[in-house]
């Protein structure tokens, strides 16, 4: 059992995180459900199919919690009036981290190191505008990542573990609140129309269409018609394409999100 687990961890270690995940998924048949017995009886067993996805969520929560912690500790960075926002974000991300660590138990990956300069590209703790810019990117990405991981990628498995699905949704909606608040702080609409013009150049990739990521099928531009699940929403609902786009937060695949956040992670 532990041999299998350490081989999965080895596969995930190193720079080839995406490739490692693909290998791990292939080498662990679904029947090989290795959910360890939980110390606390009320913790649900985590199916093996969900371990990687929940660790992915844990990585993002750790990233956010650490980011806000460092921001709050940076003298003179956050204006006094805004502190309550980031204190709230930090506290809640830390609760999310704690929850996921407990849920995953010994399947929780060790915490990586983070470099929020992304190799010197950003100075988020010297410049408030950069700090809030990255906060927005992390939160908006986090909302979409949860959705992608919790719903689109493993919908059937999550449906078979409704307690875990519900917990994931309860975190996910809070991330939506976070994203809205940070966007408002930056004088942006609290909702997202997938409009490239709106994205600052530095993080445009978070919001951008990229042909090479076609396999993830992220939707980015507000192109007409805005079709959701085969329905031309502007037409049936009497809304503009932009409004229709804002009304839905779309999922984002785990592999794509990991690629986006990789510059901020020191060791994989």
């Amino acid at each position: 059992m532990s041999e299998e687990r350490s081989s999965r961890r080895d596969a995930l270690a190193g720079g080839g995180r995406r490739l490692g995940f693909a290998l791990a998924a292939v080498s662990m048949p679904a029947a090989f459900a290795m959910a360890a017995r939980r110390a606390r009886a009320q913790e649900p067993d985590v199916p093996s199919e969900l371990v990687e996805l929940l660790n992915f969520a844990l990585t993002l929560e750790r990233l956010e919690a650490t980011f806000y912690e460092e921001g709050l500790r940076s003298e003179g960075l956050i204006p006094a009036g805004d502190e309550v926002i980031f204190a709230t974000l930090r506290e809640q991300e830390e609760e999310h981290v704690e929850f996921l660590e407990e849920l995953l138990d010994e399947d929780a990956e060790p915490a990586p190191g983070f470099d929020f300069t992304a190799g010197g590209r950003f100075s988020p703790f010297d410049d408030y505008a950069t700090f809030t810019l990255l906060a927005q990117a992390f939160e908006d990405t986090g909302v979409r990542a949860y959705k992608g991981a919790a719903i689109a990628e493993a919908a059937r498995t999550f449906v078979q573990t409704p307690a875990i699905l519900t917990d994931a949704l309860r975190i996910h909606s809070v991330e939506g609140r976070h994203a809205a608040r940070v966007r408002r702080l930056r004088d942006r609409p609290p909702w997202w129309a997938f409009d490239m013009d709106e994205a600052p150049a530095a993080i445009q990739r978070v919001y951008a269409t990229d042909e090479s990521l076609a396999e993830e099928e992220p939707s980015w531009a507000v192109t007409e018609p805005v079709v959701k699940y085969g329905v031309d929403v502007p037409r049936v609902a009497g809304v503009t394409p932009r409004e229709a786009s804002e009304a839905f937060d779309e999922p984002l695949g785990m592999a794509y999100v990991l690629e986006l956040v990789e510059p901020f992670i020191v060791d994989s």
């Binding site: 649900p44 009036g81 805004d82 309550v84 926002i85 204190a87 709230t88 974000l89 506290e91 809640q92 609760e95 999310h96 929850f99 909302v143 959705k147 919790a150 719903i151 689109a152 919908a155 449906v159 573990t161 409704p162 307690a163 699905l165 519900t166 917990d167 949704l169 309860r170 975190i171 996910h172 909606s173 809070v174 991330e175 939506g176 609140r177 976070h178 994203a179 809205a180 608040r181 408002r184 702080l185 609409p189 609290p190 909702w191 959701k228 699940y229 329905v231 929403v233 502007p234 049936v236 609902a237 009497g238 809304v239 503009t240 409004e243 804002e246 009304a247 839905f248 937060d249 999922p251």
Partner: protein, 236 residues
């Protein structure tokens, strides 16, 4: 089958609204039979909507979501038809955008459900003071939060078997975080120029079971909602 169907009258209206209100007809929960919970709105019934979870599965879940979206939409339309004097340009802009999103949500859900969609619902907002900005914002905040809590609580009833496939879960996921954005924004509008923690009161939004969510919503519903064969919450 719900073993713990409420039997007596409830006076959740005041709890929902968050302030001491006049005593009104209130809400009556009637046991129609084992496992059935009928929630009666304001004064008598104008029409009945039945959500039969056993018979209709995911269709019932989506209709449940549609019902709440319709309620929200009706509220926003009522506000925008006659906004409070104290509403700023920003308040109006936000409310118009939210109203458009709600139209998009129910437009999608209705289109996907087709003839399986519930009929229009009748609402009653007489207890809302549309002249007071604070009341309108608080009501909007509670409604959006309820929408979030209801979708979070409905996910466990989704089976993904049936005519709608994965879409009920995927669509619910895309909608609920936007509802959360709405809730956070409206909460923030309540303290203009001053940041508070109101945008996110807790690290985990609630996941309310349908009878509880509809009990709250019934403060504004004329339509009688019957929940049939609501499954017991999963334990695993």
């Amino acid at each position: 089958m719900r073993a713990d169907a409420p039997a007596g009258p409830r006076t959740d209206r005041r709890a929902f609204l968050g302030w001491g209100g006049a005593s009104l007809a209130g809400l009556v929960a009637v046991g129609c039979g084992e496992g059935d919970v009928a929630l009666q709105g304001v004064e008598g019934r104008q029409r009945v909507v039945t959500l039969d979870f056993a018979r209709d599965g995911d269709v019932a879940v989506v209709n449940y979501s549609l019902l709440l979206q319709e309620l929200e939409g009706a509220f926003y339309e009522a506000v925008l038809a006659d906004p409070p004097q104290g509403f700023t340009a920003e308040d109006l802009r936000v409310f118009r955008q939210i109203a458009a999103h709600e139209r998009a949500h129910r437009g999608l859900l209705r289109a996907k459900l087709g003839r399986r969609a519930i009929g229009p619902i009748a609402t009653d907002f007489r207890t809302v003071n549309f002249d007071r900005r604070a009341d309108v914002l608080l009501t909007a905040q509670r409604m959006e939060t309820l929408g979030v809590e209801a979708i979070n609580g409905a996910a466990q009833y989704v089976s993904l078997d049936g005519p709608l496939g994965l879409e009920p879960l995927l669509a619910a996921g895309e909608i609920v975080s936007v509802e959360a954005r709405h809730a956070a924004t409206v909460a923030d509008l309540r303290s203009p120029g001053r940041a508070t923690e109101e945008f996110s009161p807790r690290a985990f939004d609630a996941a309310k079971p349908p009878d509880e969510a509809l009990n709250e919503a019934s403060a504004f519903l004329r339509t009688l909602v019957r929940l049939v064969d609501l499954p017991a919450p999963e334990e695993t």
